[in-house]
């Protein structure tokens, strides 16, 4: 067992009466991959910022190499070899890759002038260390998220760190990018660098970490070697509640007619002859690699592929889906993947966000019936179980899971018959995720909504869908019943496609 690199002893921190950390102790050893697990709001970010020297603890001490550091500020932290890669990567989008890599170390070297040749040399060496190839002259804004992350990692490694803190590094990556990232993390570890991997994705923690510390409400609730945990125990520790993992069992209601029927749906270059029947109350999972056509299927159904060919029927009636307006009036609703950035008006109230798509339906002669609108949104807050003291609070005050419910709730107010969800729980923590899944099932069961759930999260599909489709190159290549499959089988199918 290697020596401790950094230890936090009984660290507390509060912000305006809110206790973010309450006497938390944590030890990171040299060269280990340590996972810090916890839900949103558990105190993970505060903990990272204390290690990075951005926040000073109210009480408690920080030890590096066994010595107490009284004044840990960002410069001291960096001098002790602590590097943090934040979720936003802290890169400069309008500057080149070379500058993004080299400028920080040039500042710390106290340079006044920029030596461009040197900057390029430094940058080239930094990328070479990770064995990656990215155009040094490209502006960072032109890179993909995964490439930006690699730049951020390469930059962090330039200062010869001893501890690399990665804040939720996999949130925006696809499955294959996550694997590549893990390979790089293991490689970093081989260079003797400790990694603190902050995450709320249980599956990943088992893949990558050696030791785990779980925090909740600012306290350590469980800690130990990875072998001492199993998934259920970890989920229980993170959420403080038992999360049932019972699959969605659906029986066709007697005499039911299909809610959605698709025959020969084709979009040149994207989809080829998709046939699909969805009954009321069914939850259909859709997966596939990036570019498989799964998102395009959703877009076509939502009227965003006006040139599509083929026949689409909703409740037996042919639906012309040449525009979003037509799709919405046919009862089709789509919640896109990037709803947090594009779907919500963050500074506006919950009520307004819920009603945003329904004002037309709630108004008469251009005037909004406010009494009706208020009732409708209060009902929806109750139905979606959005935790808030009042519908008049701004949406940005809500947790990620509650924000998600606002978006889904907004579209349900329009009496959706077909609900298409793209990555419904991306970036949501375990507890809220279970809540959202529960709501989606309720909707399918009680309202008879036909749900199409597009996701990369295979456990999510297996657990919540009754049927799962796999798309590849614009075709449905596999259709399985959820009860007859497992995540491992699906994962094999997907691997075989790539």
């Amino acid at each position: 067992m290697s020596e401790p690199l950094i230890s936090l002893c009984e660290v507390s921190k509060s912000f305006g009466g809110v206790q973010a950390l309450a006497g938390l102790s944590l030890t990171l050893r040299r060269g280990e991959i340590h996972c810090l697990a916890g839900e949103n709001g558990s105190g993970k970010s505060t903990l990272i910022k204390i290690i990075a020297g951005i926040y000073r603890p109210d009480s408690g001490s920080v030890l590096i190499d066994g010595e107490t550091i009284t004044q840990l500020d960002p410069i001291t932290a960096i001098a002790h070899g602590i590097q943090v890669i934040y979720q936003d990567f802290s890169l400069f989008p309008t500057l080149t890759v070379a500058e993004n890599l080299a400028l920080p170390s040039e500042i710390h070297a106290g340079r006044r002038l920029v030596r461009w040749r040197h900057v390029h040399q430094l940058a080239r060496a930094a990328l070479a260390r990770l064995g990656i190839d990215i155009d040094l002259a490209a502006n960072v804004e032109t890179l993909s998220t995964a490439e930006r992350q690699l730049v951020a990692i390469a930059r962090a490694l330039m200062s010869a760190p001893r501890l690399l803190v990665m804040d939720e590094p996999t949130t925006t990556l696809t499955g294959r990018e996550v694997e590549r990232l893990f390979a790089i993390v293991r490689d970093i570890q081989r260079q003797g660098i400790a990694v603190l991997f902050v995450s709320h994705k249980i599956r990943e923690m088992f893949d990558i970490s050696e030791r785990i510390t779980v925090i909740r409400n600012g306290c350590v609730v469980a800690a130990g070697a990875i072998g001492e945990f199993n998934e259920a125990a970890l989920a229980r520790a993170m959420t403080g509640q038992e999360i049932t993992a019972e699959g969605y069992r659906w029986m066709p209601p007697p005499g039911a007619k299909p809610r959605l029927e698709i025959r020969g749906l084709t979009v040149p270059g994207e989809l080829q002859g998709i046939d699909l029947r969805v009954m009321p109350g069914e939850i259909i999972g859709i997966s596939g690699l990036l570019g498989s056509g799964r998102t395009e299927l959703a877009l076509a159904l939502f009227g965003l592929r006006p040139t599509h060919q083929g026949e689409i029927r909703v409740d037996g009636r042919a639906a012309a889906l040449r525009s979003v307006q037509q799709a919405v009036s046919a009862g089709i609703t789509y919640v896109p993947e990037d709803r947090l950035t594009e779907g919500l008006f963050l500074t506006q109230t919950i009520n307004r966000n819920l009603l945003a798509a329904s004002f037309e339906a709630l108004s008469r002669y251009f005037l909004i019936d406010f009494a009706r609108a208020r009732r409708a949104s209060a009902d929806m807050i109750a139905e979606m179980q959005i935790t808030t003291p009042s519908g008049e609070r701004p949406v940005m005050e809500l947790s990620g899971g509650n924000q998600q419910r606002v978006v889904i709730g907004r579209w349900l107010m329009r009496d959706a018959r077909v609900l298409i969800l793209n990555g419904p729980t991306v970036g949501v923590d375990v507890g809220s995720k279970a809540g959202i899944h529960r709501r989606i099932r309720d909707l399918a069961e009680s309202r008879g909504v036909a749900v199409l759930m597009i996701s990369d999260d295979l456990p999510e599909l297996v657990q919540n869908c009754n049927r799962i489709l796999i798309l590849h190159r614009g075709k449905i290549v596999e259709e399985v019943m959820a009860e007859a499959t497992t995540e491992a089988i699906l994962s094999e199918i997907l691997k075989a496609l790539s």
Partner: protein
């Protein structure tokens, strides 16, 4: 390599500028007269020097609309002081005007940094204050050519070459161009070859990331606004020296022209983007268009319409460019 040259905004602006020159030359062949070109070059100087300051502020993610007020204050105070003390100098007065602009710029910086105020509001306020004080406290009377210090007039009329046209007229290339070019080189060096300059881009690109990496936000903001003020003060007095007149109501509405030129030169309103070369091209474009309107005897009121169009088209073009990059 070839492609990357073509992709640069400066290349695009230069091509547009060339096309505009050819078009104007077709409509009005007098455009290509050396006399006209020399006078065009001369008109670049004052706006160009101011634009260098505005460019720096805009790269840092800020905006400055107070600089015309600072320029006129620096010019008028300095000229009035020269008249009052019968002060015949060149270097001294320019130091004074620059210092006045710099001090006023520091006030902007103090508000923007210290109180975290929005630069547009701060500079609208300080600009209005300075203009008001100037007219209310210092005076409203114009210093005309008869009272204008001789040393300034002589300096402002320095020529590089002097030529005569066949009709016997005299025209010359103003030596003030050299000052403009020198300042442009200095600002270019600051922006591209110093860590401070890259810090200005970094701050405008992502302020939070700049702080985490260790760029000095306070230093950067103070340098940027002080530089804009100092350049405005200098350009103000230079303007007085070149037109032999100190009018305390001068430079009204100039902020729009200069910001238009800077945006036209490829700088982003949102910060993090822009270059000295692009700005110089943008300034040239703007000056050339207004100049040509005058040659074509189009009323000056219509020039405002043209400047308005240029601002909108240039901003639309840059935001289209930025959207493409984000997507």
């Amino acid at each position: 390599m070839r492609l990357s040259v073509l992709r640069r905004s400066e290349t695009v602006i230069a091509l547009v500028l060339l096309a505009a020159m050819l078009l104007i030359g077709l409509i009005n062949p007098a455009f290509w007269n050396l006399a006209n070109l020399f006078s065009l070059a001369r008109s670049n100087v004052v706006i160009g020097i101011m634009a260098l300051g505005v460019l720096t502020v805009m790269i840092s993610g800020g905006i400055d609309v107070s600089f015309p007020a600072f320029a006129v204050a620096a010019m008028y105070l300095t000229v009035r002081a020269m008249v009052a003390w019968d002060w015949q100098g060149v270097a001294g007065p320019f130091v004074m005007a620059t210092a006045i602009g710099l001090a006023l710029g520091l006030i902007n910086a103090a508000f923007v940094y210290g109180l975290r105020m929005i630069p547009l509001i701060v500079t609208l306020g300080t600009g209005s204050l300075v203009r008001g004080f100037l007219l209310g406290v210092v005076g409203t009377s114009q210093v005309n050519i008869d009272r204008m210090p001789k040393s300034l007039i002589a300096f402002g009329s320095t020529e590089l070459t002097s030529l005569s046209d066949p009709a016997g007229g005299h025209f010359a290339l103003s030596a003030m161009l050299l000052i403009y070019l020198a300042m442009a080189l200095l600002v270019h060096f600051l922006l591209t070859h110093t860590m401070l300059g890259r810090g200005i881009y970094a701050l405008g690109s992502d302020g939070e990331a700049a702080r985490r990496v260790g760029f000095d936000r306070r230093l950067t903001i103070f340098v940027v606004y002080a530089l804009a003020g100092a350049l405005a003060g200098f350009a103000g007095l230079l303007h007085g020296a070149m037109i032999w007149l100190a009018n305390p109501r001068d430079f009204n509405g100039l902020e729009l022209d200069v910001i238009a030129a800077v945006v036209l030169g490829g700088a982003s309103i949102f910060g993090g983007r822009g270059s000295v070369l692009g700005t110089m091209l943008g300034v040239f474009m703007l000056v050339m268009v207004s100049n040509s309107l005058i040659i074509m005897h189009i009323a000056t009121t219509w020039q405002r319409v043209v400047v308005g169009f240029i601002v909108i088209i240039a901003t639309a073009a840059t935001s289209w460019r930025d959207r493409r990059r984000i997507a």
